[in-house]
């Protein structure tokens, strides 16, 4: 039975990965090596680390909100 579950997991993952292979790769490149001598100073005034943490928390919260809202709508607790 576990083998069957593993086979299902592997099959679904392979199918999704195959579909993703048809899509293009991310076009963005974030090479900021030219700013390396100034990054420390910039980071002294602009807390990018804190910004990143805030973004991560915010996205997680939004996704959780959407998931819960979808479930509640599924059981007709809200419209």
């Amino acid at each position: 039975m576990i083998d069957l579950i593993n086979a299902v997991i592997s099959g679904l993952a392979s199918a999704v990965t195959g579909i993703l292979a048809l899509l293009p790769q991310s076009p963005f490149s974030w090479d900021v090596s030219g700013l390396s001598s100034y990054l420390a100073t910039i980071n002294y005034f602009v807390p990018f680390s804190a910004v990143g943490t805030m973004l991560y928390s915010y996205v997680t919260a939004v996704l959780a909100y959407y998931a819960i809202r979808w479930l509640l709508r599924l059981v007709k607790y809200i419209e």
Partner: protein, 457 residues
Amino acid sequence: MIKRKILSSILVASMLFFSLVFIPQQKAKANPLVIYPAAVLVVGGTMLIAGGFTYQNRDAIGAITTKMLSEMPSDLYQEVQTAVVAGTIRMSFNLWSWLKSWSNSFSASDGDIFNWNDATNPQTLSYSTLGGLSSLSLPIGTSAVDGKFVCPNQYSNDATVTVQTGDNLKLTVAVHPYLKTAGPPAVYKTHVIAWTTALGMSNPVFTSQDFDPGIPVPLNVSTNNRDILISISGSPAFTFTDNSSPTVMPKLTSVGSFSSASNSAYVTDFTHSSTKSYTYNGNDLLNDRSLRQNPAYDLSNKDISIPKTGAGTTATDVGDLVGVAPGQLTVADQTTVGAVPITDTGILTNILTRLVDWFDVTKPIKWDPVKRMTLAFTTTFPFSLPWDIKNSVSALTTTGSLSSMSGTFYSPAGAIPVTVEWPQFVLDFAPVVRAGFLIVFGIGLVFATRKLLGGAQ
């Protein structure tokens, strides 16, 4: 309504999944008799939900399933039967078909498969089909080998059966799991009784026959082809019909792994069942050594399918499953043929091994494919956008520090190095700037994405 049904089905399936996979993980090792019936019950319920047979009422459930399950030999089915009668579960016909198929693999009847009806003179034996013959009593001692059946080939040094003059010997066949010698390449062997070109029982010998798994062994038992009397995927067994009760292989020792009757499992697998008519007599298969194949079975010029092989070597771990002591099912004496180890790969072992393997919830679920799939999302556009944003921020992130600014001024007097220290007020207000930036960023983020949270409605 439909959505609620879908949700309910998802919840039920999730409960079954967790009850089947996660909860028994610790208990599975402790008591298979508890886990396996429980697993079967859950599977039965799952199959019913999936569209199994619907009974009219609880009494009908009990009556029908009791009748069906009454043929079951093992404790496992007794557990299932009890649960069904009590109305705890309803069983689909799909599941029942599987159970029934397994039950039919245990066969027994009152007769032997090889019952030659010639009391005294085997040389005059006339047969067209084995099914038309009934019994044969052979006075031992008149044979050319002085009452010994000799295996001339593989087991020539071991397989000697000595019987006493005057013993009546009746040849039967108990289909036995064949042997697979370890490879590579693995060689599959089965036992046969070869009837030499000389007439009569004077030269019946054991021999072995190699075969390929999945390819039937041909039977040549017609009147015109007597060189091989029995070519069947099993071990021949001797039943002495003296004053004592019939026993199987009482004096056959050290023939490969068949060291004694107590460690042999008799399993039949005659899959081409046009005339097959099994009758289970209620006895436990593994404790009833008198079990035989149905005599009405017509073996003339038929192909007998090889019992399906299994990877396991013993069934010790699942002894309780069929109500026998551990080790009774398996071949205890794993002797070798020459330097090659022998592995018992019988169909019963195969079935039980597969059953145990199916319900083995201790095996890990492999999430590696999911992890690789998730990794693909992070680099594939447009799903990669969240990770692109994260990478953009990460690229700018480093440890903040405020070092002095240095430079060089060029004048007519030459280059003048200059070092400028940051004013104190910058140092004082830097924390305020950082906090203010975070506040503005947070507020801006909320306003920028207010549509996501319904703010625009």
